[in-house]
């Protein structure tokens, strides 16, 4: 293959010694090249379009995904804030109840309630010694037991 042929095949103008191109008839290879170029171009354009489409789809998907993630995050953040608020409210309520219980358990209040109900403190204190069950069932200590002693006392 000559230099000229190779250049024709490549669809380019070959360099000519002496600066002037010789007259020539296009060969079969050149004709084939002219016919193939539009088809390749179309294919190339189609593939470019597909690429762009895919890229757009991917980009759209990513954007959509990001939006979804953001929505989910925002929802979670609202849920978290809500739960935190409920937890804080629960703690406040728990403390309030503890306070109410402490107030109700105050000895002063209990003494006052007892007085209001007409309760009086015992004038004597009694101590049981030995098996207490004998107090109710026997007037005399059972044989072989330590017995019991009911002893009124004062502090």
């Amino acid at each position: 293959m000559t230099v000229t042929e190779s250049h024709v095949r490549r669809g380019r103008r070959a360099p000519f010694p002496g600066g002037r191109a010789p007259l020539s008839v296009p060969g079969p290879a050149a004709a084939t090249s002219r016919k193939a170029t539009p088809a390749a171009s179309r294919r190339s354009k189609r593939s470019d379009s597909i690429l762009v489409l895919v890229a757009l789809l991917v980009a759209g998907g990513v954007v959509f995904g990001l939006v979804l993630v953001n929505i989910a995050l925002a929802q979670s953040s609202f849920q978290l804030a809500d739960l935190q608020k409920r937890s804080a409210e629960g703690q406040v309520r728990q403390r309030q109840l503890r306070f109410e219980v402490a107030k109700a358990e105050s000895p002063e209040r209990i003494a006052q309630m007892g007085a209001d109900l007409g309760l009086v403190a015992p004038e004597r204190q009694e101590y049981l010694q030995g098996p207490a069950v004998l107090v109710a069932s026997h007037s005399e200590p059972a044989a072989g037991t330590a017995g019991f002693e009911l002893a009124p006392a004062r502090p």
Partner: protein
């Protein structure tokens, strides 16, 4: 050709102008982005970011049964920006009935150009909600804690109180403020131009760490009974004030510390500084005859006498220019040393003290804790007054050996008796038995290393002498005897020194003792300021019996059935 040149010149001018503009822009960018970048970032952050402080929840103070004696609750503080309130009169008219305020005064507060003014601090959340529902522009809300004391006056002087900023100002609230207050946190969040937080914006949270709870050694029931008995004593005998301390001698746990007058920490405005004092640790008094315990301990431990040694005791004794007298006239008697203490003879005690000498007596007073703080670490605790022996007067040995010319706090006196009750070993008093962290982790407070003050045998001898005070035929403290228990104790009727002048006026009546004598569970000290009658055997001893009797039953101390007496009223309980 000329046109081309003009065109080129114009282009060059335009290019130059563009370059100049670019340089200006680049320069400004340099200034903003590089030189001032930190300042600009900070300014931007200040605009976008909002920091909200998260106050830490103040720890509670609990009684020994873990019930709350002091607790913090979340309240709402209502404040206003008057410059944003369009109609202060209408706003005040709407808010005042809810907050039970004077509408005119509130309207005056809401008028003007101020940016901040408190409307009401620490109001109930439900009340704040009613104000919030009015939706008045310029009225704002913030959360604040308020300290509550559910049992009111119970141990008020021990607990102390906090200020508006929730910092402890007195008592245990002050001493343990660093444990109770916790560490505040903060939230940093981005907000939109309307001031609303941006949910997915930049934010950071540093959680507040709540304060720790204090578990006290105070037994709520004994504290209540001690306070009630003290109030009854004040009322019955017209005393100006008083103190009762109940202590476990084995570990120094203070089960009750009652003072009169008392106050309710929920209502500071109605109390005076005098009411708020924890007299048991801040006030000193001349203990009088209860201090003879230490003279006796020194004498027995030093071997200068023994309980059965017989002494010839007159009813008066002259030392230098001063004549010491017993409480009543009597002929010269032969009394054992044990009887000298049981009858509370000043003359007999001074005669033994003379054998000891001032240095040895001073040494034992120091050993028993006179002249130094107890180690409780309570704010304002007094060390008492005890002069060094080289500064004693000629008569000081006589006065100090019978508990005059020396001053102690009620707690110091109780601690001295607790040392004898604990076989001569001193246990440091304590009010806090444990600290509970915000996660519920409990850390027991350590006990100070015990210190032997006198030998066990000496302590047992002293105990037997003190039992004679309540059980002996002539004992001065018979009113303190409790059926079912052996009680060891001592009366003290001390003259009160005049304030800022020489001499004495009035009396302090006291009784300090422990029971059961053979296995002491409790020490109780009762000090009454100027009761009528002034004799401790008729006043303080009676109150001692009430408090000790209740406390022994409360702690489940074993009763000696043979010592029970039939048919007598319960005293304290009957008057509840």
């Amino acid at each position: 050709m000329a046109a081309r040149v003009r065109s080129s010149v114009r282009l060059l001018c335009l290019l130059g102008a563009l370059l100049a503009c670019s340089c200006v822009v680049a320069g400004k960018l340099f200034l903003l982005q590089i030189r001032d970048s930190h300042r600009m970032s900070a300014l931007a952050a200040e605009q976008r970011l909002r920091t909200v402080a998260l106050p830490a929840h103040r720890g509670s103070i609990l009684a020994s049964d873990s019930s709350e004696l002091a607790i913090s609750l979340d309240m709402q503080t209502i404040f206003a920006s008057p410059r944003f309130i369009a109609d202060p009169g209408a706003a005040a008219a709407a808010i005042a009935p809810i907050l039970k305020m004077n509408p005119e005064r509130l309207a005056a507060k809401l008028s003007g150009d101020s940016g901040f003014v408190y409307v009401a601090r620490k109001v109930e959340p439900a009340v704040a909600e009613k104000v919030r529902a009015l939706d008045i522009t310029g009225i704002e809300f913030m959360a604040e804690q308020k300290r509550f004391y559910p049992s009111g006056v119970l141990a008020g002087q021990v607990l102390g109180f906090v200020g508006d900023d929730n910092r402890g100002l007195a008592g245990l609230e002050m001493k343990y403020d660093h444990l109770l207050q916790g560490n505040p946190g903060k939230v940093v969040m981005e907000r939109d131009p309307g001031g609303r937080p941006i949910p997915s914006g930049r934010s950071s949270v540093r959680d507040a760490v709540g304060g720790q709870d204090l578990v006290l050694t105070i037994d709520k029931q004994i504290q209540f009974e001690a306070q009630a008995a003290l109030d009854r004593a004040i009322q019955a005998w017209g005393a100006r004030g008083g103190t009762i301390v109940v202590m476990d001698p084995r570990n120094g746990d203070i089960l009750a510390m009652a003072n009169a007058p008392s106050f309710d920490p929920n209502d500071l405005k109605t109390s005076t500084a005098r009411d708020r004092k924890n007299r048991a640790v801040t006030d000193v008094y001349e203990p009088g005859s209860v201090s003879k315990l230490i003279t006796a301990a020194a004498a027995l431990e030093s071997g200068v006498t023994n309980p059965s040694e017989v002494l010839r005791v007159a009813d008066h004794l002259k030392i230098g220019a001063k004549t010491f007298k017993d409480s009543h006239h009597h002929p010269v008697e032969n009394l054992s040393f044990a009887q000298v203490i049981q009858l509370s003879s000043n003359v007999g005690t001074i005669k033994v003290a003379e054998r000891l000498g001032k240095t040895r007596l001073h040494d034992y007073l120091v050993r028993f804790g006179y002249g130094r703080v107890t180690g409780l670490g309570f704010p304002g605790e007094s060390a008492g007054i005890l002069a060094r022996p080289e500064k004693w007067w000629a008569t000081s040995l006589g006065t100090i050996s019978i508990g005059q010319g020396v001053a102690v706090t009620p707690l110091q006196m109780v601690q001295a008796y607790a040392t004898v009750a604990n076989d001569g070993v001193e246990a440091k008093p304590r009010l806090v038995q444990a600290v509970v962290g915000p996660e519920g982790d409990r850390q027991a407070a350590g006990l100070a290393a015990p210190r032997r003050v006198i030998q066990k045998e000496t302590a047992r001898q002293l105990t037997e002498i003190l039992v004679g005070v309540t059980e002996g035929d002539d004992g001065t403290g018979k009113a303190a005897a409790i059926p079912g228990y052996r009680v060891a104790g001592k009366t003290g009727t001390a003259q009160k020194p005049l304030q800022g002048a020489a001499g004495y006026a009035g009396y302090v009546a006291s009784f300090v003792g422990f029971a059961p004598a053979d296995d002491p569970r409790l020490v109780v000290g009762v000090i009454l300021d100027d009761p009528t009658p002034f004799l401790a055997g008729s006043t303080a001893a009676v109150t001692f019996k009430e408090v000790m009797g209740f406390s022994l039953r409360r702690v489940g101390a074993q009763v000696e059935v043979g010592r029970l007496v039939e048919g007598a009223p319960l005293g304290a309980a009957a008057r509840n």
